[in-house]
């Protein structure tokens, strides 16, 4: 009898494995999570069935939003730091170290250079967002083609730092923007000073298109 009493099994489950798994997952999600970067503009890209992923390095993105405004972005922070110095020199604007640091940490820039110092002196993202909302974007007219300068300067600085290589160029356009605006940007890409004839167009993956392709008769 006394031997039977010995085990005294408790009704509590051993939850250790479950807790272990829980923490493992928490760690995984916490480490892999990337918080959505502060975006100057939200763009609804068209969808395609292309599955080639977007590069995460050495990528220059030119964004065109639904209103036809143009934004510039580059992934590499070191290059950004040099680009803003060169652009400030070319357009004779003066930026202090704090403003330059802020530029490096931002993403899409859609502010004409004349207004850039004001924009970069704003500390809170909310204020910057307000200015972004009313900004006309980077000028692309032939009289004041700042986009061409952005691209040219980025190319120069990137290739001097990487032994003559060119950055990867991506065009991120809103699906509903008129093609004529996109065409203007493409014409700037192709202009003799920058010569970008190969570029990527950023799209969303469309599941339905893949499904229809698979369903097609063999």
């Amino acid at each position: 009898m006394s031997k039977l009493k010995m085990p005294r099994s408790s009704p509590a489950l051993d939850m250790t494995p479950m807790v272990d798994l829980g923490f493992l997952l928490v760690t995984f999600f916490m480490l892999t999570a990337q918080f959505r970067p502060e975006e100057a503009v939200v763009v609804d890209t068209p969808s395609s069935m292309s599955q080639s992923p977007i590069p995460t390095e050495n990528l220059m993105t030119v964004t065109v939003d639904s209103g036809g405004r143009v934004f510039w972005d580059f992934t590499d922070k070191l290059v950004r730091a040099e680009v803003i110095k060169e652009m400030a020199k070319r357009y004779k604007i003066s930026l202090d170290a704090e403003q330059e640091r802020r530029f490096v940490n931002l993403n899409d820039i859609g502010i004409p250079l004349q207004k850039l110092p004001t924009y970069l002196s704003l500390d809170s993202p909310v204020d910057r967002k307000q200015l972004d909302d009313v900004s006309p974007g980077i000028p692309i007219d032939s009289t004041d083609n700042q986009l061409l300068d952005w691209i040219r300067v980025t190319q120069l600085i990137f290739s001097s730092g990487s032994g003559g290589k060119n950055p990867i160029v991506a065009l991120k356009g809103d699906g509903n923007v008129n093609y004529s605006v996109i065409n203007k940007v493409i014409k700037i890409f192709q202009s003799p000073t920058v010569k970008i004839n190969r570029f990527k167009m950023i799209t969303d993956l469309e599941a339905s298109r893949i499904a229809t392709k698979a369903a097609e008769p063999q």
């Binding site: 829980g22 080639s52 008129n178 093609y179 004839n197 990527k200 167009m201 950023i202």
Partner: protein
Amino acid sequence: MADVQQGDGGGGARHQKKRAKKGSTHIDMTPMVDLAFLLLTFFILTTTMYKPSTLQLTFPVPPDEKDKPELDKVNNALTLFLTKEDQILYYKDAFKPGETQLTRTDFSKITPLLIDWNKTTFDRIQELGRKLNANEINETAYDSLKNLAQKEKEALFVIIKPDKDAKYRNMIDMVDDMAIAGIGKYAVQDTIKPAEETVLDAEKLKF
């Protein structure tokens, strides 16, 4: 800390009670586990698998003196005008002023048409795909054979011309359809010849 507190507040009666309870060495982990699962739920719910993809597009180098003379030589050519309200107008082969008529269609109908016009190449690519799936050929061979098939003389050559009313989405859809129909020879152009413009405008009035 915990030790100190126990020592400080410990009255005789309390100590006795504790001993009687035979205090276990286990720590109650419930709050910690609760917190862990709360975090887990948060991260699972806020994680979006946002993966944009890209379409590669290559434009001809501009000082190529335009493709115009070359275009007329190409047989099996198809010219697509992308225009307002997601409509497509097209004509086949060379443009003959006064003769060429534009046919109207839209994005839901164009894919089967393209596949049909590009039947020989499309079938060859399908066959290659089947071989790839059956492990008869490897990925590299598939890519190069597909490339060869798309460059054949009888393969369809498509010129995409978005007009001033077209949306960017239309252009992307069209380039995407090229991939679906297995068309390797295509170009996006913005030059619409005056003669084409006249026919196009006349057709657009019928919308």
